[in-house]
């Protein structure tokens, strides 16, 4: 399943937030969206599942205009892992993950046998089986993040959108979460779009990178093509370079410091 934008633009109280965004996310690929704060990357993500409606242009899901599809039908195909937030009510892990089956159920309909199987499997895939009856309001940020990923998996989606999935997580947990996402993408052909701040993580895990500056696309392509020293200087004001790490056999980004210090 592909996700495409056609001359997408968005304004907020008269100010442009996104202008002429043309992207196509292919089936099974992981696309990273990078850009400085306020460049519109979260807004772009919200447009991709109709949480916001474009002010101009279109978003196309397998060629079909998102505006023509109901939110409920979109939720059957596109799952979202929003930025982590605290929960003040004592739902259990199982309660939360079960909510992922909601788009497939009627108004008053309960969980079917197959719904319960999917929920259990989703919990197992993020490694929380032993935590199924724990209360979410007493869990750590990393655990909560995994619960929300499990909920997204329970939607059995074709496309997964993630907003800053590694923010507030311990460093080892950041790798665990993104390893899991890559695994899902490679094994199940899940299409993933990740909005992030983290140049290193994007270079390592994403097949392609979209770089946004001043509400427009600056560059799109493989991490090697996009994360050039010139682009990193231009967009983030940092002196950095993308390198291939022989030990992990992965890309990473070296940041030497702010561009100001460059001699």
């Amino acid at each position: 399943m592909t996700l495409e934008t056609d001359k997408l633009s968005y304004t907020y109280v008269g100010y442009p937030v996104l202008q002429d965004i043309d992207i196509k996310v292919n089936e099974g690929e992981i696309l990273g969206i990078l850009g400085p704060n306020g460049c519109g990357k979260t807004t772009l993500l919200k447009n991709l599942n109709k949480n916001l409606s474009p002010k101009g242009g279109k978003v196309l899901l397998d060629g079909e205009d998102l505006e023509e599809i109901t939110k409920k039908d979109i939720a059957k195909r596109i799952a979202v892992v929003p930025q982590t937030n605290e929960v003040h009510f004592s739902f259990t892990v199982k309660d939360i993950v079960s909510m992922g089956r909601m788009p497939f159920q009627g108004l008053m309909e309960g969980m079917s046998r197959s719904d319960m199987d999917i929920v259990e499997e989703s919990i197992a895939r993020v490694g929380l089986t032993d935590y199924a009856d724990r209360h979410i309001n007493v869990m750590s940020g990393g655990e909560r993040q995994r619960v929300i990923i499990a909920r997204a998996l329970a939607q059995t989606p074709d496309i997964l959108l993630m907003d800053e999935p590694t923010l507030h997580l311990d460093i080892n947990t950041q790798f665990d979460v993104l390893d899991l996402v890559r695994d899902l993408s490679r094994k199940d052909g899940l299409t993933v779009v990740i909005v992030s701040h983290d140049l290193g993580m994007v270079a390592r895990y994403c097949d392609r990178v979209l770089l946004i500056k001043d509400h427009r696309i600056l560059a799109i392509g493989t991490p090697e093509e996009v994360l050039t020293p010139e682009n990193m200087d231009l967009v983030f004001g940092v002196d950095g370079e993308l390198v291939y790490d022989e030990k992990s056999k992965e890309n990473t980004v070296f940041l030497h410091g702010s561009s100001k210090r460059k001699v």
Partner: protein
């Protein structure tokens, strides 16, 4: 039910059984009151209900006490379930129709209709209709006040509710002050009294409250997701704007019906869902229906208490009793549970 190491299903069974037994007991208790410190035994109450009682017991139980108990059941159920719905919509255990100013809104319309009678139309019709109108206008006013850029934020919504509510309460006080000889009637009504309603009014109010409450319960699953945050609900395919508006309208309907027939009875929507959530967890599919039963039970206990001190001071307005029980809990929540309330 972590306290007793019961599973949720077992906990639900225990709590449901306890509430049902307590409710039956409260119905009989509230039906048994005669006067001062005289009460019928439960056997006499049942006989009177079955038509086997004495001439006087049938009049007291069936004609005097029964309407009070029946309207209490519906009002208690309606107020408790709207409280549960509000708390879920606003992700805040302190939210209730009172915080949003809906009760003050309804009472302004009702008080105005009592003071300025419209010619040819009986007060029994103008009061609920006026309460509906002002309650609905209050809801629209609070909702539009808190909208900016197409988004309604919980914090602004609650602040708008508090602001509008204090203005409306002042207007009700003003009307009460200029009421002159009608003063006593308005004061007594505004503090809440189940004894105001007669069978005709019950036949009008009960179906409205029941239907609107059941509509609210159909939204229980969406409300669960809304408790995690609006974004989560949207991501799971819930039309957040429409759901929220639907719930606010249904709440308005219940509150207007309750306020116009029995006056302002506070804190039921706060106390009942909160206690049930402590016992059974936050799932609205369980909390909302159980709130209806427990709300009826609670209002009947309070109504009985209004009569207990009758020999000394006369019958108390029920709103005083519910507030005396509910307000300390509200204060406790503010002090002890800041984190849960979201104000840490």
């Amino acid at each position: 039910m972590s306290l007793l190491k019961l599973s949720r299903r077992q906990g639900l069974a225990v709590v449901l059984t306890a509430i049902l037994i307590l409710t039956v007991y409260c119905v009989l208790l509230d039906l048994s009151w005669v006067s001062e410190n005289v009460s019928y035994t439960f056997q006499e109450v049942i006989d009177a209900l079955m038509g086997r009682g004495t001439w006087s017991s049938e009049i007291i139980v069936r004609d005097i006490n029964a309407p009070r108990v029946v309207i209490g059941i519906f009002v208690g159920a309606g107020l408790a379930v709207t409280g549960a719905a509000m708390q879920a919509v606003f992700k805040n255990p302190l939210a209730s129709p009172y915080i949003l100013g809906l009760s003050s809104g309804a009472s302004l319309g009702a008080a105005a209709s009592m003071l300025f009678a419209i010619p040819f139309i009986p007060a029994a019709i103008t009061t609920p209709v006026m309460a509906f109108i002002t309650c609905f206008l209050t809801m629209v006013l609070v909702y539009t006040m808190s909208r900016s850029g197409g988004v309604v934020k919980t914090e602004t919504l609650i602040l708008s509710g508090v602001a509008v509510s204090s203005l409306l309460s002042a207007l009700v006080s003003f009307l009460t002050f200029i009421a002159g000889e009608k003063l006593e009637g308005i004061v007594f009504w505004s503090m809440g009294n189940l004894g105001n309603a007669d069978w005709n009014e019950i036949m009008f109010a009960a179906p409205i409250i029941t239907v609107a409450s059941l509509f609210l319960i159909t939204q229980a699953k969406s409300l669960n997701v809304l408790m995690l945050g609006d974004v989560h609900a949207m991501d799971l395919g819930v039309d957040v704007k429409r759901t929220r508006l639907f719930i606010l309208i249904m709440t308005t309907v219940v509150v207007a019906a309750a306020v116009s027939f029995v006056g302002v009875i506070g804190f039921i929507g706060l106390v009942i869902p909160h206690i049930l959530r402590i016992l059974l967890g936050p799932d609205n599919r369980i909390i909302m229906p159980l709130s209806m039963i427990a709300g009826s039970c609670f209002i009947l206990i309070c109504d009985y208490l209004t009569h207990v001190i009758a020999p000394y001071y006369g019958t108390l307005p029920i709103g005083v009793v519910t507030s005396l029980i509910g307000a300390p809990l509200f204060i406790y929540l503010l002090i002890r549970r800041k984190k849960e309330v979201g104000w840490n």
